[in-house]
């Protein structure tokens, strides 16, 4: 019950003094023990704090919040990171310098830069050369595996051979101690992941410049026969002050994969940027990195990776089987030609992707020139929506229709004997919902695979013919209309 007048109690004025923090601890304790026995003062205190509706509102609004529980769930795996840091820090050798956390080899550790699936990155002082370095320490649970250590050594020595401004250099590798580590220059800056988290989609020109530099670094490594295997925004460093991008963790993903696979049978870390061939555990080549780079470009455009699901399994399934939503669906500022570029990199079949990092560098450089000076630099022909592409569609459809017609005439009698069961199974293979998200991609996939489908009934033939015809009429309509 709301009261508007203070009670006729000698202590009534204490209520507002308590709320405004005007009581010292002795006075407060005294008033609290008075509250114990004086119902009138209790009521008055509550009324002074807030009216009834406000108490109810606070109760209602502060109840369990789905947004925060969702964020908590997403952060859960990050907290395992802090556990990892603790393990590594306690494993460091003691140091005489009270300013330092500990020592590893001849490096005095002053702080923690970051933590990832592979281990912990420490900031350290290299006394012999008087410079600040980043020391990447292998996670203790990985270091206990002999084969992981060997791989770590082999891969990091191979990576050390890549000398390129867009790849973080490796000064030295050490696998003799309890915890293997490698030493890199200390770069002041943030990861691309952090920038995307903070800003969401990036400006188009930045996307192109960052993308071209990543591709350039990849090209240098690919030339030496090295595949990164774990291209993702968290592995891309943006240096402060200069417009330079550097790839970290070359080849190290493999060392981690093997060790964590043998330990638990599951893939550690986030698989969101994996290629389809990686997600199936098949052998990979440099084009796997190009798929991952396509996902990184996608993330810069949209603010998140293209294949997301509640579980790692769900992510892998999507990578292997589903077409992502087009980036223009999420961010209409992205030009259509860039959408096309990403789409090509994200081809499930490596042979359909842009074939080399070098080719991609040239393509992205031409895009930058085009964006900066559209009048003097036209869009690279590979990204234009060309007539020849339309023409090839038309040719395919014409051939298909001719074939179908001939096929239909020749076999129309025998086709009538095909059972309903077969008909059903074929129908389910075909796209049936054009309104679905991303159907324009799936649709095209089916259309281009038409000759792989067992066409067994006249009904089916008609359906496929109609579909191909529609496809020919509006080959890019779904993309263009947005």
């Amino acid at each position: 019950m709301m009261t508007t007048k203070p009670p006729a109690c000698a202590n009534a004025a204490r209520s507002s003094e308590l709320l405004q923090g005007q009581l010292n601890s002795f006075e407060q304790a005294e008033f609290e023990s008075h509250l114990e026995s004086c119902a009138a003062c209790r009521q008055w205190l509550e009324d002074q704090a807030a009216d009834e509706a406000q108490w109810r509102e606070a109760s209602h609004l502060l109840m369990a919040d789905p947004y925060r529980s969702s964020l908590d769930a997403r952060r859960e795996h990050e907290t395992t990171g802090s556990h990892l840091i603790e393990q590594v820090i306690t494993a460091l050798a003691p140091t005489d310098d009270p300013e330092m956390l500990g020592r590893i080899g001849s490096y005095e550790v002053s702080g923690v830069i970051g933590v990832g699936g592979m281990g912990v990155v420490l900031k350290a002082h290299d006394r012999s050369l008087d410079r600040i370095v980043a020391v990447k320490v292998m996670a203790p649970h990985l270091a206990s595996s002999g084969s992981a250590r060997k791989r770590f050594e082999r891969e990091s020595k191979a990576a050390a051979a890549v000398l390129h401004p867009n790849v973080i250099a490796i000064h030295s590798v050490n696998i003799d101690g309890a915890l293997p580590y490698l030493v890199m220059p200390y770069v002041r800056g943030q990861s691309l992941q952090k920038r995307i988290d903070a800003e969401g989609p990036l400006p188009q020109l930045d996307i192109l410049r960052i993308g071209a530099q990543i591709a350039s670094g990849l090209a240098a490594a690919h030339n030496l026969g090295l595949v990164h295997r774990d291209i993702k925004p968290a592995n891309i460093l943006l240096e402060d002050g200069v417009e330079r991008v550097a790839i970290t963790d070359f080849g190290l993903a493999r060392a981690v994969d093997d060790a964590s696979l043998t330990r638990s049978g599951v893939i550690a870390g986030t698989p969101q940027y994996m290629s389809p061939e990686q997600s199936r555990g098949e052998p990979i080549d440099h084009r796997s990195d190009l798929f991952s780079l396509g996902s990184v470009l996608y993330a810069m455009c949209s603010g998140h990776s293209p294949f997301r699901a509640e579980t790692s399994y769900g992510v892998l399934h999507r990578i292997g089987n589903e077409a992502p939503r087009t980036v223009r669906d999420i961010n209409t500022d992205v030009p259509e030609w860039f959408d096309r570029l990403i789409h090509r990199l994200l081809s499930k079949n490596p042979a359909d992707r842009i074939q080399s990092a070098h080719e991609l560098v040239q393509l992205l450089s031409a895009c930058i020139a085009h964006l900066e000076q559209p009048s003097t630099h036209s869009l690279p022909s590979a990204l234009r929506e060309t007539k020849s592409r339309r023409r090839s569609w038309l040719a395919a459809v014409t051939a298909a229709v001719l074939l179908l017609v001939g096929f239909g005439v020749m076999t129309s009698r025998s086709l009538t004997t095909v059972s309903d069961k077969d008909e059903g199974s074929v129908t389910s293979e075909l796209p049936d919902d054009r309104s679905a998200v991303g159907s324009e991609y799936r649709h095209s996939d089916h259309a281009t695979q038409w000759d792989a489908l067992p066409i067994t009934t006249t009904l089916e033939i008609q359906r496929v013919a109609t579909e191909l015809e529609e496809e020919a009429r509006t080959p890019f309509a779904a993309v263009d209309s947005r």
């Binding site: 709320l19 008033f31 807030a50 509102e57 606070a58 609004l61 789905p66 947004y67 949209s302």
Partner: protein
């Protein structure tokens, strides 16, 4: 019933300035959870709801200049609720069949549209208010002792008996009354501050 507070002109003017990242951060910090909760209330899955929040924020960012020029008299909240509603309706209409509840999601009747309109607006007002309260609670919580906060949370938010909470905390009933009232008073102050920011 609380009215949707008019978004402060000051913050709004700052948000319109693309160079002012801080204002945008502040703005997104409030509205991202708001949009997420609306999406979840409308049956979206977790990842899709995060997605929608991102989409709406992009829409706001790109459209904010347009709003300024063409609809000077339109109040910001009306405009924002329209952008949100449109984004939600679009997303619902484009959802793949297997994730939609019930029949074909592409066929949204006019009644449903109008109903969604009104309900979304109400949700928007309520969820905005909730976000302000939650952020205020974050600030108050770090400035009081753990016992004091617990006394408030257990009795006010969780609705537990005061005597029981006092026993569990090893404090007197008077101390619990004192604690929860002090938190409530401070909470209101911070809510006011955040609203007038």
């Amino acid at each position: 019933m609380h009215k949707f507070p008019e978004t402060r002109d000051s913050l709004l003017m700052q948000v319109r300035d693309p160079a002012n990242r801080e204002a945008w951060e502040q703005f997104a910090q409030i509205y991202r959870p708001v949009i997420y909760r609306i999406a979840v209330a409308r049956g979206f899955q977790d990842a899709d709801a995060h997605d929608l929040a991102q989409q709406v924020l992009i829409a706001v960012a790109t459209a904010i200049g347009r709003w300024e020029k063409s609809e000077e008299e339109t109040r910001f909240r009306n405009w924002l609720s329209r952008v949100t509603k449109n984004a939600i309706l679009n997303a619902v209409a484009r959802r793949p069949k297997d994730r939609a509840r019930g029949g074909s999601s592409a066929q949204i009747g006019l009644d449903e549209l109008a109903e969604c309109d009104r309900a979304t607006e109400e949700l928007l007002a309520q969820e905005y208010r909730r976000e302000i309260y939650l952020q205020a609670a974050d600030r108050v919580r770090v400035n009081v002792t753990a016992d004091t906060w617990q006394a408030f949370e257990w009795t006010v938010v969780d609705g537990r008996e005061i005597a029981e909470v006092a026993r569990q905390l090893g404090r007197s009933v008077g101390a619990v009354y004192s604690a929860r009232s002090r938190v409530m008073y401070r909470l209101r102050e911070v809510v006011r501050e955040l609203e007038n920011r």
